[in-house]
C-alpha cells in the first residue's frame, strides 16, 4: 500500500495530475490557473507539465469558462473548470442550469456533459465578501447535476479523479479552509464510491451529518461530547446530491436522533432535504425531530465575526443537546 501525507491542496493537485496523465482529453480551465497555479495553488505546476493547451488560463468570465467547457464536452473533451471562489460562480449559473444540466437530456443522450466545476466553498479563511459562500443547495436542487464535497486529502485525491471519470456533470465543492490541513493519502485504492457517504465515527446517541469543512468540526464536537458521555455518530455525506440515504438511514435508525451541520443557511437547503427524507424513512425510530445547525439567514458577515456565523463545536454541541433533551 502506497500512502503519503499531504495537504488537501496537494492531494487535489496530484489527483488532477493523475487524471490528466490517464486521459489526454482532460483539460483544466480557469482564471490564473497557469503560471500562478490558481489563487490556492491547486493547479501548481500543471501548466508547465501539460502545456497551455491543456491547462488553459481563461479570460475573466465565468459564463465563458463554463460555456466553452460545454462546447469542449461536445467535442469530446473533459474540462475541469476552476471557479476562483464560490461567490463568483453565479455569472455562470445560466450556463450551468440551462446547458450543463440539461444538454444530455436535450440531446437524447448524444452529448456527454462530463465536466467538473471545482468550487472552493465555505468560509473560515478571513476573506472579504463573496469569498466564503456555500452555494451547494442551488446545484443540488437542479436536476441533471451532481454535487460532491471532500473533507480529507484522501477523499480529495480520489473524488476529483472519480468526478472527472464520471459521465455526468459534477459540482465539486472544496472546503477551502481545509486546503492546508494534512492527511494520509493512499494512492492505490479509492476509499469508496463517489456517491457513498462515510461513517467516520460510530456512536449511539445522535447522528451528526456534515460535508466539506464542517466534517472536521463535527468530529471535534464528537470528541468533546464523548468526554461528557455522549456518543455521536459522525457521517460525512460526501455526495451532497444525490444523498446516500441508505447509509444515513442505518445510522438514524440506530441513534434515533439527527443533527445536520452545514455552513449554508438552512432555508431550502441540504439540511432541510436530509431531515425531511430521513424523517420519512426513519419515522418510528426518531426520538426527536432532526435539526440543522447552520449559517444564519444573512449575507455572509464580515469575517471578523464569521466564527459566530459558522457552526462551531459549541453550536454543534448545543444542537446535540437540543435533540437529546427534546421533550424532556
Amino acid at each position: 500500500m502506497t500512502t503519503s501525507t499531504m495537504t488537501m491542496a496537494k492531494a487535489l493537485n496530484e489527483g488532477l495530475r493523475r487524471a490528466m496523465e490517464k486521459n489526454k482529453k482532460v483539460l483544466l480551465m480557469g482564471e490564473d490557473i497557469g503560471k500562478l497555479g490558481g489563487v490556492f495553488r491547486i493547479t501548481d505546476g500543471l501548466q508547465k507539465d501539460f502545456g497551455e493547451d491543456r491547462v488553459i488560463d481563461a479570460p475573466l468570465g465565468e459564463s465563458g469558462i463554463v460555456g466553452t467547457a460545454v462546447g469542449l464536452a461536445i467535442r469530446g473533451y473533459r474540462t475541469v473548470c476552476e471557479i476562483q471562489f464560490d461567490g463568483f460562480v453565479y455569472p455562470a449559473f445560466d450556463q450551468i442550469v440551462s446547458q450543463v444540466a440539461k444538454l444530455h437530456k436535450r440531446s437524447d443522450g448524444a452529448y456527454t456533459m462530463g465536466l467538473v466545476i471545482r468550487l472552493p466553498f465555505q468560509g473560515g479563511i478571513g476573506a472579504i465578501e463573496h469569498h466564503s459562500e456555500s452555494p451547494e443547495a442551488y446545484f443540488a436542487q437542479t436536476a441533471g447535476l451532481r454535487v460532491v464535497s471532500c473533507s480529507t486529502p484522501n477523499d480529495a485525491y480520489w473524488m476529483i479523479q472519480q468526478s472527472i471519470e464520471h459521465d455526468d456533470p459534477i459540482i465539486f465543492c472544496e472546503p477551502k479552509s481545509r486546503y492546508w490541513e494534512k492527511g494520509e493519502v493512499n494512492t492505490d485504492v479509492p476509499p469508496r464510491g463517489l456517491f457513498e457517504a462515510a461513517v467516520l465515527r460510530e456512536g449511539t446517541d445522535v447522528t451528526v451529518i456534515a460535508y466539506g469543512g464542517t466534517v472536521k468540526t463535527c468530529r471535534r464536537a464528537a470528541d468533546t461530547a464523548a468526554l461528557e458521555g455522549t456518543s455521536i455518530e459522525v457521517i460525512d455525506a460526501r455526495s451532497v446530491a444525490p444523498l446516500d440515504f441508505e447509509t444515513m438511514k442505518v445510522s438514524v435508525e440506530k441513534t434515533g436522533r439527527l443533527v445536520v451541520v452545514q455552513e449554508a443557511p438552512h432555508s431550502a437547503s441540504i439540511g432541510s432535504e436530509i431531515i425531511s427524507e430521513l424523517t420519512q424513512r426513519c419515522f418510528y425510530s426518531m426520538q426527536a425531530p432532526g435539526i440543522v445547525v447552520s449559517g444564519y439567514h444573512v449575507p455572509y458577515p464580515p469575517t471578523r465575526i464569521e466564527e459566530d456565523y459558522r457552526p462551531t463545536v459549541e453550536r454543534i454541541l448545543d444542537g446535540v443537546d437540543r435533540v437529546i433533551g427534546f421533550g424532556k
Binding site: 465563458g64 462546447g71 467535442r75 440531446s107
Partner: protein, 355 residues
C-alpha cells in the same frame, strides 16, 4: 437598406452585382439547387404554420424572409463543421440533412431536442438566448486542440446579440483565435423589440472592437450569404480566427405562432420587404441569366409539396411519448431520484407500461 457597407452579389431585382472582394463561385445548377432548398424550406415552414393552426404543434417559429440567410449559410458549411443553432434555424437544419420531422419534434412538444446532433454535426436548439454561442467557441477550441481543419458556427439573432453570453463569446474567440464564425441574422426584430434598440450602430461593427473582422451581408441575397460565409469558414479552418457575419434580413412573419406583430409594427414595413423576397430574387436571376424554365420551377414546387405532405403525415403519426421517457438521459449514470421517479410512475400506472 441603409448606407452601410453591405456585401451584395444580387440586386433585389435579381441582377448580378459585382463586388470587389467576393465573386460568385457557383454554376447555374448549384444556384438552382439553392433555389430548391429555399423553396422547400419555405414550404416546410408554411406547412408547419398550418399544422400549428390546426392544433398539431404547440408552437412554430416561421422563417419566411430569412430563407436566403439560412440556406446561403447552411450550404456553405462543410460536413465536418459543427453548427450551433437557436430555435429558428430550420434552413440550416435542412442543409445539414436533418429530416424535417425531426425539426418538428421540439414544436410538437414530444422532445426538447429532436435529432442526434453528433450525426448531423448540428447541435440541438438553444432557446435561452446566447447560450449556444459560447458553446460554439468552446467547440472551436476543441477543434484547435485536435489540430483539425474544421470550424464551428454559432447562429443567433439581433436580439440575442445584447446578451452577455454572446458578447463574452467575442472576447473568448478573439483571445484564442478560435475557428468560429458568428452568424447573426439581423431580422430587425426580437419579438416586438426593433433592432434599433439593441444597436445604435450596425452590429457587424462590434467585431472590430474585439479584434476580428465583421461583415454585413445582404441577408436576402443567397449568393452573397453563401460566399461570405464560405470565405469566413475557410479563413477559420485555416487558422485565421473568428469572423462576425451580420446577415441583414427581415422576419416577414410573426415571431412565433403565439405572437401578434400587428401590435408593434406597421404593414408598410412588411410591404417594403416583400419586394425583397429572397426566393423571387434568385428565381429572377435563374430565369434571366440561366434560362431556367417554368417547368423546372414547378418540379421544385411539386417536390416541396411532397415533402410537406410527408412531413404532415409524419407529424400526425408522432405520438405522445411514454411518460416514463422523461427519466431517460436526465443523467448518464444511475441516480436514486431517477429510480424513485420511475418506480412511482409505474406504480401510479402512468408510464412504463410497455417496457
Amino acid at each position: 437598406m441603409n448606407q452601410e457597407q453591405v456585401i451584395q452579389l444580387l440586386s433585389p431585382e435579381g441582377e448580378r452585382v459585382t463586388n470587389p472582394e467576393y465573386t460568385c463561385s457557383l454554376n447555374g445548377e448549384e444556384i438552382f439547387s439553392l433555389y430548391r432548398d429555399m423553396t422547400i424550406i419555405r414550404r416546410i415552414c408554411t406547412e408547419s404554420t398550418s399544422l400549428q393552426r390546426q392544433g398539431q404543434l404547440a408552437l412554430w417559429a416561421p422563417i419566411r424572409g430569412q430563407e436566403a440567410a439560412q440556406i446561403g449559410a447552411g450550404r456553405a458549411l462543410a460536413p465536418n463543421d459543427f453548427s450551433f443553432p437557436s430555435y429558428r434555424e430550420h434552413g440550416i437544419a435542412w442543409c445539414r440533412g436533418i429530416p424535417p420531422e425531426n425539426m418538428l419534434r421540439l414544436f410538437r412538444a414530444v422532445s426538447n431536442g429532436g435529432w442526434d446532433p453528433n450525426k448531423y454535426h448540428h447541435s440541438v436548439p438553444a432557446i435561452v438566448l446566447g447560450n449556444q454561442v459560447l458553446n460554439a467557441v468552446g467547440y472551436a477550441m476543441g477543434i484547435q486542440r485536435d489540430g483539425a481543419e474544421e470550424a464551428a458556427v454559432a447562429f443567433f439573432g439581433d436580439g440575442a446579440s445584447s446578451q452577455g453570453d454572446v458578447l463574452e463569446s467575442f472576447v473568448w474567440a478573439a483571445s484564442f483565435n478560435a475557428p468560429v464564425v458568428f452568424f447573426c441574422q439581423n431580422n430587425q426584430w426580437g419579438i416586438s423589440t426593433p433592432s434599433s434598440v439593441q444597436m445604435k450602430v450596425p452590429l457587424y461593427k462590434r467585431a472590430a472592437g474585439f479584434g476580428f473582422p465583421g461583415i454585413r451581408v445582404d441577408g436576402n441575397d443567397v449568393l452573397a450569404v453563401y460566399e461570405v460565409t464560405k470565405h469566413a469558414l475557410e479563413n477559420a479552418r485555416a487558422g485565421g480566427g473568428p469572423t462576425l457575419i451580420e446577415a441583414f434580413t427581415y422576419r416577414m412573419g410573426a415571431h412565433t405562432t403565439s405572437d401578434d406583430p400587428t401590435r408593434y409594427r406597421i404593414d408598410a414595413e412588411v410591404e417594403i420587404w416583400n419586394h425583397r423576397d429572397p426566393i423571387e430574387r434568385i428565381k429572377a436571376l435563374l430565369v434571366r441569366a440561366y434560362g431556367v424554365k417554368n417547368s423546372q420551377f414547378e418540379d421544385v414546387t411539386t417536390e416541396a409539396d411532397e415533402i410537406a405532405m410527408k412531413l404532415r403525415r409524419d407529424v400526425l403519426a408522432m405520438d405522445r411519448p411514454d411518460p416514463i421517457t422523461m427519466f431517460d438521459h436526465a443523467y448518464a449514470d444511475e441516480h436514486p431520484l431517477i429510480e424513485e421517479g420511475r418506480r412511482e410512475l409505474i406504480e401510479l400506472g402512468i408510464g412504463g407500461l410497455n417496457r
